[in-house]
């Protein structure tokens, strides 16, 4: 859902949007850091499909897409991204 246009620190974003996808505009993000230091939350959603719908509505020229918090998957599920190939 669209959010209030107020610049927040990453600590504030983590507190307010834990385990949500956020799109940040007017953000600060050092090249060598894994997470931004601040930004304005343009849209946010707990569900990725909803987030995908929101980021395609009037997309800004410059934004950052971030998942906030620790990714959590069902117990006994191992995410195996390796050994992938593509064939034309």
């Amino acid at each position: 859902m669209p959010s209030i246009y107020k610049k927040l620190s990453w600590e504030e974003i983590k507190q307010r949007f834990d385990r949500e996808w956020v799109e940040l505009v007017d953000y600060e993000w050092e090249d060598t850091k894994l997470y931004p230091s601040s930004g304005v939350v343009r849209v946010h959603a707990k569900n990725r499909k909803e987030f995908d719908r929101l980021i395609l509505q009037n997309p800004p020229e410059d934004s950052a897409l971030v998942f906030v918090g620790k990714r959590k998957r069902p117990e006994n599920v191992v995410l195996n991204l390796n050994l992938r190939r593509q064939t034309p």
Binding site: T32, L34, L56, S63, A64, L79, L81
Partner: protein, 131 residues
Amino acid sequence: MQTFEIDRTQDIPLVTSRIYGPRGTRRVQLVFDTGAAKTQFHTPVLESLGYSASQAIHMLSMSGPAGPLQEGYSLVLEHIRVLGKNFNEIEVGVFDFDFLSEDGIDGLLGFDLIREFHLEMNGPRSELIIY
């Protein structure tokens, strides 16, 4: 030499990138995936930058050790900056990471780009060092 932060608390290794398209730029986190042959993105991420399937240059089938997984396509990404390096006009895969993206994945940094780096990982210090 530049030192990049990695997050040991996550189950998967993530790095940040900046990608460019016809309508602008995005900062996104990519899985550092040495086992992926090609760098790939979740379809809506590239669509938000103005890319579309009409720019496809190859149809792709993604397969892993368990067999075929998904159909997608490739297109030419204008520009990507990742781990301090810039790459222009590279062919990337475009797939719907419908399952993976629920867990927080916008794309994969594949071996096609990883092999261009001289790097060292210091896991205990949460660092990826690029020479």
